[in-house]
């Protein structure tokens, strides 16, 4: 049966029926463990379903963190290339699959994919986020590659290598797990399910058209009996979220980000059905999940064409929106558009944090997000009720004035009202760049602070393509754009007021943040892996391992809290001594 709901095609049957052969998949990561608060294991992109990136572990605290030291590092993991995946590049400790930190045989390489291997790039693995830690094993990924690593000494156990057809090979957001299955998206638009015990392929499914320039770098999310898949696209192709059966990969439903047919809600916010269909709103960063309501809360990307005309003057729903979707039905429960009619390529895909905290005198089930446009939002995650909008950024002028303390220019829904003069114009518009981006934020219930990286630049945006039909994708802007940089920071934002309580300067961009019940905030700072006091922002500890390539993670191994970092093609495992 096929049912259409605001661009939703729903195939009922597999999603609501218990998988009959769960017993065959006993062991590995139990589904109940996926729903536990972040503590002993790291079981999904954010560690747990809340998106808070807040660990309950507290062995490492503001006093003991200075004793955190390197237990092992694994520098020999290579991205596969060629027909067999065996790199010809000399590696520090192994060949194509990587060899363990200790001497031993090279890890087996499991090869699949539709390419020849010529389009794959050899070299140190470019580890992305969503590194899993389950039952003593680390499951890490780089574009087109998945690795299982012994968490006790860094030995690579197996290496899955995908011969890609090419395409937009950005960083991967990582992996998902369910029982003994590992799920991964390939940039040339397939999803694979691997046997966690040996890396062998269980199933593979095409998830988008490679020829339409989709690129699939998102981390899958396992929500109940659903594997949620999202993709990216810069070619105006329809954006969507898919749900697949975890056992078979069969499609359960597809939800489009924009109206695809006459009669669908939101179509009146576009100039035409064709504009809506090609209006994007890509789904390239994982969201968060509330197991009580079965709502998956995720953000959608910018509309296309990003900078030029061609999509009318409406809000362009449901791009740049926070969406609450029932994963069992594929129906949208509510939405909140954080950037109506975005004109700057400022996706709202940032992972939201789901928190249960008091707000205006009573406990609320909240969802908190800070988006690229430099605005911070608090909503009721069950109803979508808007509770707070605040601005962050030192030179954020696209909607309200550049003065951070100026009265915000908001509509009745609390949405920022863009100043059209700050769009890209032929004569040039002096406007801020994106104030934050996809690197995940963190929220600590202990401090009540939401931590997010902030970047502060002004530049001149030029419209180079005044064709009233609009450009495509990210085309149509450019030219000499003078830039002025006020620096990059971690902001600690009071969720009740939206005020920045403290701001800590960074020496480079962020790859994502982590807080713990020990009161520590971990992050990458230029060439340092660093820890701050989460309450005050005071620097506590650092290790000069170089720039991180993915957000830091923490978990419990053999009774000791460990902290994992990646960077420069290496894994770094820290432990308290």
């Amino acid at each position: 049966m096929k049912k259409l709901l605001f661009g939703t095609s729903l195939i009922v049957g597999t999603s609501l029926i218990a998988v009959p052969f769960l017993l065959a998949q006993s062991g590995g990561l139990e589904p109940t463990d996926i729903l536990k608060p972040l503590k002993d294991q790291w079981t999904s992109y954010s560690g747990d379903m809340s998106g808070k990136r807040y660990s309950l572990l507290k062995q490492v605290d503001t006093n003991t963190v200075k004793h955190l030291s390197l237990e092992w590092m694994q520098t020999g993991i290579q991205s596969g290339c060629g027909p067999t995946g065996v790199s010809t590049t000399p590696a520090g400790a192994g060949g194509g699959g990587g060899r363990g930190a200790l001497a031993g045989p090279a890890a087996p390489i499991i090869v699949d994919g539709l390419g020849t291997g010529d389009a794959n790039n050899c070299g140190p693995a470019r580890f992305g986020g969503g590194v899993l830690f389950v039952n003593g094993i680390i499951y890490a990924s780089a574009p087109d590659n998945v690795y299982a690593v012994d968490a006790r000494d860094g030995t690579v156990l197996w290496h899955f290598y995908w011969k890609t057809r090419g395409g937009t090979s950005l960083a991967t957001r990582g992996l998902a797990m369910w029982h003994n299955y590992i799920y991964f998206e390939l940039h040339d638009d397939w999803a694979v399910c691997l046997d966690a015990r040996n890396g062998h392929l269980v199933w593979k499914k095409e998830i988008a058209s490679f020829d339409q320039q989709y690129f699939s770098s998102n981390a899958p999310m396992v929500l109940g009996n659903h594997v949620i898949i999202g993709t990216g696209n810069d070619m105006d192709s329809p954006a969507f979220l898919k749900s697949m059966d975890p056992e078979t990969g069969e499609l359960q439903w597809t939800v489009y980000s924009t109206p695809q047919n006459v009669g669908e809600a939101g179509l009146d916010t576009w100039t035409s059905l064709d504009a809506a269909r090609h209006g994007a709103g890509s789904t390239w960063i994982p969201g968060s999940y509330d197991p009580e309501t079965h709502l998956y809360l995720y953000g959608t990307g910018n509309p296309t064409p990003a900078y030029t005309g061609g999509r009318g003057d409406g809000d362009n729903l449901y791009t740049c929106s926070l969406i609450a979707l029932n994963v069992d039905t594929g129906k949208m429960a509510w939405y909140y558009q954080t950037s109506p009619h975005d004109t700057h390529d400022w996706d709202s895909t940032e992972t939201p944090a789901l928190v249960d905290m008091p707000f205006n005198g009573r406990m609320r089930k909240l969802v908190i997000t800070a988006t690229r446009n430099g605005y911070f939002y608090v909503l009721d995650r069950v109803t979508g009720e808007h509770l707070l909008t605040a601005k962050f950024g030192l030179v954020n002028n696209w909607a309200s004035g550049i003065d951070p303390n100026a009265k915000l220019n908001l509509d009745a829904k609390g949405q920022p009202k863009r100043n059209p003069s700050k769009d890209a114009t032929i004569a040039g518009s002096l406007v801020n760049n994106d104030v934050t981006n996809y690197p995940p934020p963190t929220f600590s219930p202990d401090t009540g602070l939401f931590y997010v990286h902030e970047q502060n630049t002004l530049r001149v945006y030029y419209l180079m393509d005044p064709d009233p039909r609009g450009s495509m994708g990210l085309g149509g802007t450019g030219g000499a754009g003078a830039g002025l940089n006020w620096g990059t920071f971690i902001d600690a934002i009071d969720y009740k007021t939206g005020k920045v309580v403290w701001r800590h300067e960074l020496q480079g961009g962020s790859v994502g943040l982590l807080t713990t019940a020990g009161g520590v905030l971990f992050f990458g700072n230029g060439q340092d892996f660093e820890a701050l006091d989460a309450k005050t922002g005071k620097p506590l500890w650092h290790s000069g391992i170089g720039a991180l390539s993915s957000p830091p993670e923490t978990f419990l191994l053999d009774g000791k809290q460990h902290v994992l970092a990646t960077g420069g093609g290496a894994l770094y495992m820290f432990v308290l001594n």
């Binding site: 994106d434 393509d465 039909r469 149509g476 940089n485 960074l506 340092d528």
Partner: protein, 291 residues
């Protein structure tokens, strides 16, 4: 009108024809340009022969361009082919033939003509740039008037805000002649305070490396040099004699003061900002007169 198809029903004149795309298709592989291009099948697969492409272009111009436009971007009568799913997924005319079979009004082509038309479409799609930039983007022949400001008002603004540091008969004499035919370059240069008008520091970069800096030690001693690195735990300078000197930092001691060469222009940019960009456009119009 069935908008499920990328080719729609009614023939008529296109709204805008991009002359760039009316030219011969690229002879090479048509590999995309720009940020994320490369590796896509549409960009890399071999193109048909020039004879086939020329025939396809003629067929397209005769049968399709009136609704879909010669530059493929579409009109109010026909959708944009550059982002058409069937056109992008098509290999050698098989999907485009399916679309044509249902097309209203009918398009009667023999198979060889359909294939030629499809190959021509692919040759244009192959010129699509990174991140979906369309062929013919940022056309050089298009006149975009950047100098929309009031030069007189800009002169007054300059006198009030810039003249304390700059002189139009001194350091800025003949400024505009350095940016002949490039008012965007001129505007970028004066706003940023850098000759090239380039973007400094990136979107997420740290500040200060390569800039003059003063390190004040706990003892009160001051050391000057060029900043190599400053973190929460370390500061490194290159001293005037070329040697490298580093100090551990704790609780922001030693104190590090960096001379930001853009400080004045950052202050200016904040003052310059107005909802309509009027001040910026006015000053650019004025500076453009400094030949």
């Amino acid at each position: 009108m069935n908008r499920n198809l990328w080719i729609t029903a009614v023939a008529g004149p296109c709204l805008l024809v991009n002359a760039l795309l009316a030219q011969a298709p690229p002879a090479g592989g048509g590999r995309g340009r720009g940020g994320r291009a490369g590796g896509f099948t549409q960009f890399t697969r071999p193109l048909a022969s020039q004879d086939v492409l020329a025939r396809g272009k003629a067929l397209f111009d005769a049968n399709c361009a009136s609704c879909h436009a010669a530059d493929f971007r579409g009109t109010d009568k026909g959708v944009n082919i550059l982002r058409s799913g069937p056109a992008l997924d098509d290999k050698h005319g098989e999907l485009i033939a399916q679309v044509l079979a249902k097309h209203t009004p009918p398009v009667n082509m023999v198979e060889a003509d359909t294939v030629a038309t499809a190959e021509y479409i692919h040759s244009i799609l192959a010129t699509t740039g990174g991140q979906g930039s369309p062929p013919g983007r940022n056309p050089t022949g298009l006149q975009l008037n950047v100098l929309v400001g009031d030069a007189k008002a800009g002169e007054a603004y300059f006198a009030a805000h810039c003249a304390s540091c700059h002189s139009v008969t001194g350091d800025l004499k003949g400024l505009a002649s350095q940016y002949d035919d490039d008012p965007r370059g001129l505007q970028g240069a004066w706003v940023s305070g850098t000759k090239a008008g380039v973007f400094r520091g990136g979107r997420g970069g740290g500040l200060g490396a390569g800039q003059p800096a003063t390190v004040t030690l706990a003892s009160g001693e001051k050391v000057q040099g060029t900043l190599v690195k400053k973190t929460d735990f370390l500061v490194v300078l290159t001293l005037p004699d070329g040697t490298r000197k580093s100090w551990a930092r704790e609780n922001e001691i030693p104190k590090v003061e960096i001379t930001d060469p853009q400080a004045a222009h950052k202050k200016m940019a904040i003052e310059l900002d107005d909802p309509e960009n009027k001040n910026m456009h006015d000053v650019t119009a004025y500076l453009a007169t400094l030949k």
